[in-house]
């Protein structure tokens, strides 16, 4: 568990000093009842040492911002876009947070606990 402000430094240390060369994933967990609602989780992998590392940090619903890791890991851009789609996490410094799995015009973030389970937002009008 780390603070969001430490993320860039720790990730840089992981990459340069400890050879964590693969950025596996960034995702989030929604804890609707807790004051810091979102838990953002980063996964790294080292092909030299075959070890995984998980970094976890908490952000609030009012300001769900963590720094981007795109300058360090190019592949982070796609996963940050997905995380932004599904949970509405903002990645400060990533200026390309277009929808990647969802589509333009989709309102809300479907993996948040308060998204209605069966709420559909059709692109083609239904016939009935």
């Amino acid at each position: 568990m780390i603070a969001p402000a430490e993320l860039e430094h720790i990730a840089e240390q992981l990459k340069t000093r400890f050879a964590f060369d693969v950025f596996l994933d960034v995702t989030a967990v929604d804890w609707p009842d807790q004051p810091l609602r979102f838990q953002v989780v980063h996964h790294f992998y080292s092909t030299a040492h075959t070890v995984r590392v998980r970094l976890s940090m908490r952000v609030s619903e009012a300001e769900p911002v963590v720094p981007t890791l795109r300058p360090l890991y190019g592949s982070a851009g796609y996963m940050e876009r997905e995380c932004h789609d599904m949970y509405g996490i903002q990645f400060a410094g990533n200026d390309d947070l277009r929808p990647i799995l969802l589509y333009e015009g989709f309102e809300g973030h479907p993996l948040r606990k308060d998204y209605p389970k069966q709420f559909e937002q059709p692109l083609v009008p239904y016939r009935f």
Binding site: P110, Y115, K117, P122, F128
Partner: protein, 172 residues
């Protein structure tokens, strides 16, 4: 129904046993021709594709029903087979493919996801393709057995054989 002869009534027979001319009903003749020449366009999106391959392969062989040759352009196809889950994001593509097909055209919902959405009842999936395009035959099952698919094709052939076949219409 495959035992039924060509829906043609002979008028006269010359001594050699060949027909000079035949009389029949236009709808029956055209329907008979069309039901054995279904050119499917497989709109294959998910795991039902495995079952589609099985039913197209030699063990079950949809070629026996004249529905074997997939056309990979919707303009050359007259049977749209939606095989698998269709997401909301794919719905405009499916709608466009359907509109690009020339008349006459039929639509088959292959598998429970295409039929009703199946167990996907969420933000991402279309709850049945009949929400956006008309469907002629539904084949439920997750995935459907090849026998069910063949049964569906035969039922669709019955629909075609018993249907009206307009040679000319208002838009042609």
């Amino acid at each position: 129904m495959y035992g039924k002869p060509l829906p043609v009534v002979s008028a006269t027979r010359d001594p050699a046993g060949t027909f000079e001319y035949l009389t029949t009903k236009k709808d029956e003749l055209v329907g008979w021709a069309r039901k054995f020449s279904l050119f499917p366009y497989p709109f294959v999106t998910a795991c039902c594709a495995m079952e589609f391959m099985a039913v197209s392969g030699s063990a079950y062989d949809t070629d026996r029903f004249g529905a074997a040759l997939p056309r990979f352009s919707p303009r050359q196809a007259d049977l749209l087979m939606i095989v698998g889950t269709v997401t909301q994001k794919q719905a405009p593509i499916l709608r466009k493919v359907y509109e690009q097909m020339c008349e006459p055209k039929w639509v088959m919902a292959f598998g429970v996801c295409a039929t009703s959405g199946g167990f996907y009842q969420n933000y991402a999936s279309l709850p049945g393709i009949d929400k956006i395009i008309p469907v002629d035959i539904y084949i439920p099952g997750c995935p459907p057995r090849p026998e069910m698919v063949i049964d569906g094709i035969i039922k669709l052939q019955e629909i075609i054989a018993n249907g009206k076949h307009r040679i000319l219409n208002d838009t042609f």
